[in-house]
């Protein structure tokens, strides 16, 4: 095994490969959940440590990216038991405002999108981070958040609509489209 360099590069066997492959993804997910780099760091460190122990105790343990995201989610929820209730109940949103135009999307800035994301409820933030950060399908997301796939389908659509509405309200990037009357009450038109 090689010793990792100052940037964390280098191999450390099977576990090293696992860290190399999944660290950035895990960290960004943890940051999206916790909204702070120090908390994200602790979440990621403890979760990779758990993965290392699991791999050492059981060479055939299914320690993969999905396991990692599930573990991060579980640890984060354990620290925020109130959020678990909101997540299961769905934290329904009222979508009766105009959708924003997709014109000008190239002008979106990272800080603005993150600011909006961080102002959203944990339920929406969780789904959007899995969809956009991790680029997972709805069935994988359902497994990670422990919800029926059909439930995830509907909530993900609402979360994406809400994201665009909030970006529109900020007036950042996409311009607000004043077509509220054309949008069905469920906001899915």
């Amino acid at each position: 095994m090689q010793t990792p360099d100052a940037n964390g590069n280098g191999k450390a066997g099977k576990f090293g490969d696992f860290v190399e492959e999944n660290f950035a993804s895990a960290y960004r997910f943890a940051f999206c959940l916790s909204l702070a780099h120090d908390r994200a760091t602790r979440l990621v460190e403890t979760t990779f440590h758990e993965a290392d122990l699991l791999q050492k105790s059981d060479a055939h343990a299914a320690v993969d990216k999905t396991w990692l995201l599930e573990a991060l989610h579980r640890k984060w929820m354990a620290c925020h038991p109130r959020l678990a209730t909101a997540e299961k109940s769905g934290d329904e949103i009222s979508i009766n405002e105009a959708l924003i135009s997709l014109e000008g999307i190239d002008d979106l800035e990272c800080d603005v999108v993150l600011k909006v994301l961080h102002s959203m409820s944990p339920v929406h933030r969780l789904l959007l981070s899995l969809f956009y950060f991790e680029q997972l399908g709805y069935r994988e997301i359902a497994r990670i958040v422990d919800l029926p796939p059909e439930t995830v389908l509907g909530r993900l659509a609402r979360s994406k609509i809400l994201l665009r509405q909030m970006l529109g309200r900020l007036g950042a990037g996409p311009r607000a489209e004043q077509k509220g009357s054309e949008v069905p009450a469920d906001g899915l038109g």
Partner: protein, 81 residues
């Protein structure tokens, strides 16, 4: 599957390319409907463009490499102990 346009859009908004979703019959049927409707097809292209921009933005979130180094170093230390 008999979805109206609103339901179809809600479904497609949950689609993630490059995942097993691509082989999911529910999406294949949805794509067939999109292909036959120019308005839906335009909407779908715009949705994908928006998603692509957001994915790129999310990729710019900085990742502290020293944390990764610490994780690897700690694991190595435990193995050497």
């Amino acid at each position: 599957m008999d979805l109206d346009n609103a339901e179809l859009k809600a479904l497609l908004q949950s689609f993630r390319e490059g995942t097993p979703d691509s082989d999911d019959p529910i999406f294949q049927e949805a794509f067939a409907k999109v292909a036959g409707d120019p308005h839906l097809a335009a909407w779908w292209r715009a949705e994908q463009a928006f998603d692509a921009v957001v994915v790129e933005i999310f990729r710019t979130v900085p990742v502290p490499l020293d944390v990764k180094a610490n994780i690897l170093r700690d694991a190595q230390t435990v193995r050497n102990a």
